[in-house]
Amino acid sequence: MTVIIDYNTGNLFSLMSALERIGTEYKVTSDPQDILSADSVILPGVGEASNAMSELRQRGLEKIVPIIKAPVLGICIGMQIMCSSSEESDTDCLGIFPNKVSRLRGPGIKIPHMGWNNVENTKSPLFTGIQDGAYFYFVHSFAPECNELTAATTEYGSVFSSALSEKNFYGTQFHPEKSGEIGEKILRNFIEINF
């Protein structure tokens, strides 16, 4: 069973629908037992980093997420709060990935970064069978910097980590649940990871 962590950050309908389209059974919950016994866990999220962290803490999940042994996929804010800190409201995050999250910068770029952009230099089982440079859907104003855990990069103003991976933890800055068939492929790859 796949668990989608429910911590009141935005609408889960799109993610649930995407999992249904690929035929994955899931449960939406904030119960630590359910989360720790799941076969795979998705940490979704839209909105703002400090609010997401505070919602996570209110449920005591800031101590649970880092100890999950099954594959974990953070999406957008979900990935950002798995990083060390975010420049958004100067937020301390979970520190699963040592990367800092900073505001997108660059000459003449429009914020939010909204639309389809190339995901390059992919290196993670998430991208099995996906061509390097494929387009995915992004909506965000902050992003993790690059380091050795960077599993894919995207350029918008400057280059940022559009995916991260460290042991059983994965993250995407783009929204696989909104990225058409290729996004569904990412979700399927994630579900099929046996750790």
Partner: protein
């Protein structure tokens, strides 16, 4: 590179897609969910659904349609038309919409833009601006172009950006339905004056109109409806042509 977006727009009345010429004389063209799926398969980057129903029954039908779209469509979609409160917008969000588009309600109550952006984030809030040129000045109009406001296009666009809008959808009422091309010069000026994405609407008639828009960096996305609905332009073909002109396009 961030791709330029091609966005078909579907006007929905009582659960059916319709398209008017200059917003008048509505004519049915198909099932909105099926059309959305078809456009997504053709390569549409996003879909916009506008509720043009005038009745409560029509609005409830629209809400059900939004859920069905969210279940079946794997690309983002925006909904608009008649959203006048946080409650309306929240219901659409819960039904699965990625963004809401505010038009007349933003003019009437600009704090709605601020409050929605604060609650759900800027990425959720699109402000649609309809305007036409009157004595050389771009005047914002509402109610499908029937009412003139006191607002000037460029000032209003900057104001909604400051209030927290994440995107602007600009329709030139002088160009809408004419198929003579987008209002490129105005769009270019508008795009350069704001720091959020701009979607162009009104005037698409052929492939050249899209190239002109993107080659001149007039907008981040192009919205059109009748040329797509009546099969005059196929989205796959359009995107191939644009790509061949070195425009950043997702194929």
């Amino acid at each position: 590179m961030l791709a330029k977006r091609i966005i078909p727009c579907l006007d929905v009345k009582d659960g059916k897609t319709v398209k008017g010429i200059n917003f008048l004389g509505l004519k049915e063209v198909g099932d909105p969910v099926e059309m959305g799926i078809r456009y997504a398969l053709q390569g549409a980057d996003e879909i916009v659904y506008l509720d043009v129903s005038a009745t409560i029954e029509g609005r409830n039908t629209f809400l059900k349609m939004v859920s069905s779209v969210a279940k079946n469509l794997s690309i983002p979609f925006t909904v608009g038309g008649g959203i006048s409160s946080i409650e309306n917008a929240s219901a659409l969000l819960l039904a699965g919409a990625d963004k809401v588009s505010l038009n007349s309600a933003a003019v009437r109550d600009p704090s709605l833009v601020y409050n929605l952006a604060k609650r759900y984030g800027s990425q959720f809030v699109v402000v649609a601006i309809d305007a036409r040129q009157i004595d050389g000045k771009w005047v914002v109009v509402t109610h499908s172009g029937k009412r003139e406001t006191e607002l000037e296009l460029f000032t209003w666009a900057k104001e909604v950006e400051n209030l927290g809008a994440g995107e602007i959808l600009f329709t030139s009422m002088d160009h809408d339905g004419t198929k003579q091309g987008y209002a490129c010069e105005t769009l270019k000026k508008l795009s350069d004056s704001i720091s959020i994405p701009l979607i162009a609407s009104g005037g698409a008639g052929n492939t050249e109109h899209f190239s002109e828009l993107f080659l001149n960096k007039c907008a981040d996305g192009a919205l059109a409806s009748s040329v797509f609905h009546y099969g005059e332009i196929n989205i796959t073909e359009l995107k191939r042509v644009l790509k061949s002109k070195n425009i950043d396009i997702r194929l």
